[in-house]
Structure formats: C-alpha cells, structure tokens
C-alpha cells in the first residue's frame, strides 16, 4: 500500500479546480462538452473562444500544458480519421494545395477535429485534477445506480492488484527463459491471462469476504462527505457558463 494512491492521469495539486468536489466537476464537464457539441460548425471564432476559456481553466488548475499535451495522444487515431474525411467524402470538390478534396468533407473534418479536441482537453483536465476515489464518490452523489458505483469502486481497487500480480508473473516467466517471439508462444500468454484472472479473483474474493465479515453492506462509509457549497457550484459553473454563452451567441449570429 506504499504505492501512489492516485491514478496515472492524476496530477497532484492544490488549485481551486483540484479542491472542487468531484460531482461539481463532472456536471461542469458534461455541460461544457454539450455546449461545444451544440456550437454550429460553420464559424471559426466560437471554437477559438471555447479553446481560450479551456486553456484559461488549465492555467488556473496549474496543471502544466505539456502534461495535458502529451496525454492527448489518445486522440491520434481519431485525428488521422478526421484528416482523411475530406478525401473520401462526397460533394463539390475544391483544390487545397496539390489535392482535390470535398468541400463539405473539409467542413466536417474541421468540426470533428475541433469538437473532439475540445472534449479531450476538458476530460483530461477533469481527470488530472480529480483522484479516482473522489470520482467514484462524485458519481455516487449524482445518483449513478448503486450496482454501477460498486463495480466501479471494485474495478479501481482491483487495478493495482491485477497489475502487481501480472508483474510478478512476468518476472517469474522471464526468469525461466520465456521470450514471446512468435504466435506459437500465444498459448503461454493465454495461460498467463487465465492464471492472472483466477489469482486476482481469489485475492479479491478474500478481500471481499473480509469486508463482508466487517459489516460491508454494499456502500463504503464516507469519512468526509463532500457537499458542494453554492460558491463551489459558482466556480465550477464558470467554464460551462462561458461555453453556453459562446454557443448561444454563435447560434444567434449564424441565424
């Protein structure tokens, strides 16, 4: 238990955004993304405004921009797809440099990229400023059904167990001279996964039975119940508020 308690995306800090209760951040994130997705895609300036507001929030959180930047690789397959859209889409062609591309495809690609990127940055900011167990508590406060909350907390607790078990098994396998060179070694890897499943399950089962015998009835007691003050709701509402205003302005101007 001496290992780090945050998840790999968490960036430790004490900014105003770090201190916000998790459920406020979840609601703010959902509202922000909804406003971005609803923004009409013909104009450029609303997206610049969204991005400015979002970068402002990142600066307030004191999470380094490079930290968010390196984690945006998750978006790469999607970016490649968006870049290919103008080439495969149908519609009137326009010349861009040496290529003939579809004009509606170009607009679609731009909108996909802009909306997707803003969504990714916003999620990464929320993940970087929220610890995993706070996130589970936040979902619980937002009345996510109990079975889902329980599975989620078990999953986050199991992740460390499974990763530790796997690394021990890998060391044991490698020290016996195993090298995964070709497809013939797949059965060994398959057995590794099967054994990993059973070992992790049996460890988790012992933990779960110990919890049950100590009176666990499906809900972990919360030592510091986090209720949000109206001030915290106001702070959390700044970013989605700006996004909704920008979206509304863009809709009015586009009309």
């Amino acid at each position: 238990m001496g290992a780090g308690h945050g998840h790999t995306l968490h960036y430790h800090g004490h900014s105003a955004i770090h201190r916000l209760p998790a459920h406020v951040k979840i609601v703010a994130l959902v509202l922000f993304v909804l406003a971005v997705v609803a923004t009409p895609r013909e104009a450029f300036w609303p997206y610049a405004a969204h991005l400015t507001a979002l970068v402002g929030a990142v600066l307030v959180s004191r999470v380094p921009l490079s930290y968010i930047g390196t984690r945006m690789v998750v978006e790469v397959p999607f970016v490649v797809f968006a870049l290919l859209v103008p080439f495969v889409a149908i519609g009137p062609r326009v010349a861009v440099g040496p290529f003939e591309v579809s004009a509606p495809g170009l607009v679609a690609a731009w909108a996909l990229l802009a909306k997707g990127t803003l969504g990714v940055i916003a999620s990464l900011l929320a993940a970087a400023t929220t610890e995993a167990r706070d996130l589970v508590a936040g979902f619980e406060r937002l009345r996510l059904p109990q079975p889902l909350v329980q599975i989620m907390s078990f999953m986050l607790r199991y992740t460390e167990v499974v990763a530790g078990e796997l690394s021990r098994m890998r060391i044991a396998r490698d020290s016996r001279g195993f090298r995964a060179r070709s497809i013939r070694q797949w059965p060994v890897l398959g057995h590794t996964l099967g054994a990993l499943f059973i070992r992790s399950y049996e460890r988790g089962e012992r933990v779960h039975l110990a919890m049950l015998s100590r009176g666990y009835a499906g809900r972990l007691p919360s030592l510091h119940p986090r209720t949000a003050t109206s001030g915290e709701w106001a702070v959390g509402g700044i970013l989605p508020g700006v996004a909704v205003l920008v979206c509304a302005a863009a809709l009015v101007i586009a009309r």
Binding site: V74, S123, P145
Partner: protein, 229 residues
C-alpha cells in the same frame, strides 16, 4: 476506437443514450436475480480485464483504429447482465478519465459495446454451445465463436448509426465495408484471446465461468474411497 464527441448528430446521440439507459436499467434488474456475495467482485475484475483489453489498439487502415471489445469474454465469464454493467463502467471511466470516447457519445458507445457486443457474443455462444458436445472443453471454442461474430456485428451496428446520423458525408457503403472487413480480422484476434483465457479458467475453476455453469450442474457428486495406509 470509441465514438468521439460530435461524430454523430444530436438526435442520434440522444436516441442511442435512451436505448443504452434502458438496457443498463434492464441489466441492473437482471443482475438482482442472481446477486450473491461474489457477483460484484467478479464484475469488477471482469471490468479490469476488459479495460486492459481495450487498451490494445490496432491501427486499422483508412485512418481508424480498432481494438478488442471483450464483450463475449465478459458475457461468458460473468453472464450477459453483469457483463453489460461491467462494460458500461469501463466505458464511463474511459470517457471521464482517459478521454477515450466522447462524453456526449457515451450512450452510443454503451449501446455498441455494452449491449450489441455483449448480447451478440452471448447469444452466439449459447447457440454454439448447443451445437457442440456438452463437455467442459466445448466452452472455450463456443466462446471463441461468440467473440468472432460479436466484433463485426458491433462494427456493422456502428456503420448503421453512422448512416442515420453521421456528421460527415462519407458514402455509407465505404464505411460499412471498411469497418466490417477490418473488424473481421480483429474478431479473429479476439476469438483467439477469448478462447485462451476462457479455456485456462475453465480448466482450473469452472465454477467461476458463468457460461460453464449448466454443464457443472449435470455432474453428479462423486465420493471416492480414501486410501487406507
């Protein structure tokens, strides 16, 4: 690749979210029937495995990427109801923690992977189990067949949603052929991994495999004579 924000239009996203919410509510009711002290840890562990499996992304030509879905694996190990819940949790955490899959597209992703993937895998697994001999060794091949079918079916379902509410003017046939042909290949990989994992769990702890329970019930209690020294 999970469906990102802004990929499908609002009516499609909302409709898929409603369908997904209905499916998850049905799954919660379904799990209540066979709830015991081992279900929740089981679902949590299955969720970890699915989470890890979905991290492995294969670059698929034409700019998209595919990954293992794990729907059939989850359904065979934990039962289809619990598998739907496990997949839903995985997708929620991926959207909120790793920005993989858009938040407004969460309903779409739950529909495609948590409902279509899991239930296709489970129904095909059941059909295959009926055709194969009733032995424990048939569980792994049946699970492989379920996995093989479920991946392209989920890809085809995505192409169908794209035809209804896609936000890019790409010919639907092109999307369908690209998605389904590549996911056939991914389905083969998924079938192999599913068979290997299910096979090795069945060999040691068949009682943990939901899909193997009907076979276990048929086994009579066998009392062996102890060895006298």
């Amino acid at each position: 690749m999970h469906v990102p924000d802004g990929f499908l239009d609002a009516p499609t996203s909302i409709a898929t979210a409603v369908v997904a919410a209905g499916g998850v509510a049905a799954a919660i009711r379904g799990t209540r029937r066979d709830l015991d002290e081992r279900t929740t840890p089981m679902a949590g562990l299955v969720a970890v495995f699915i989470f890890a499996a979905q991290m492995i992304n294969f670059p698929v030509g034409a700019g998209t990427s595919g990954h293992l879905l794990g729907g059939a694996l989850a359904a065979v190990l934990a039962g289809p109801w619990l598998a739907t819940l496990a997949l839903t949790v995985v997708l929620i955490l991926q959207a909120f923690l790793f920005a993989d899959g858009g938040i407004t597209a969460l309903g779409t992703n739950v529909l495609l992977m948590g409902l279509v993937g899991v239930w296709t895998g489970w129904l095909v697994f059941r059909a295959a189990s009926h055709l194969l001999p009733r032995r424990l060794t048939s569980v792994a091949p049946a699970a492989a067949i379920g996995a093989l079918v479920s991946v392209p079916v989920a890809a085809a379902a995505f192409a169908g949603l794209f035809a209804i509410g896609g936000q890019a003017d790409i010919p639907v046939v092109a999307v369908l052929t690209a998605m389904v042909s590549w996911h056939l290949l991914i389905g083969i990989g998924e079938a192999l991994i599913t068979a290997l994992v299910v096979g090795s769990v069945v060999a040691v702890r068949p009682d943990l495999v939901y899909g193997a329970r009907p076979l276990l019930g048929a086994r009579p209690l066998e009392i062996r004579q102890g060895v006298t020294p």
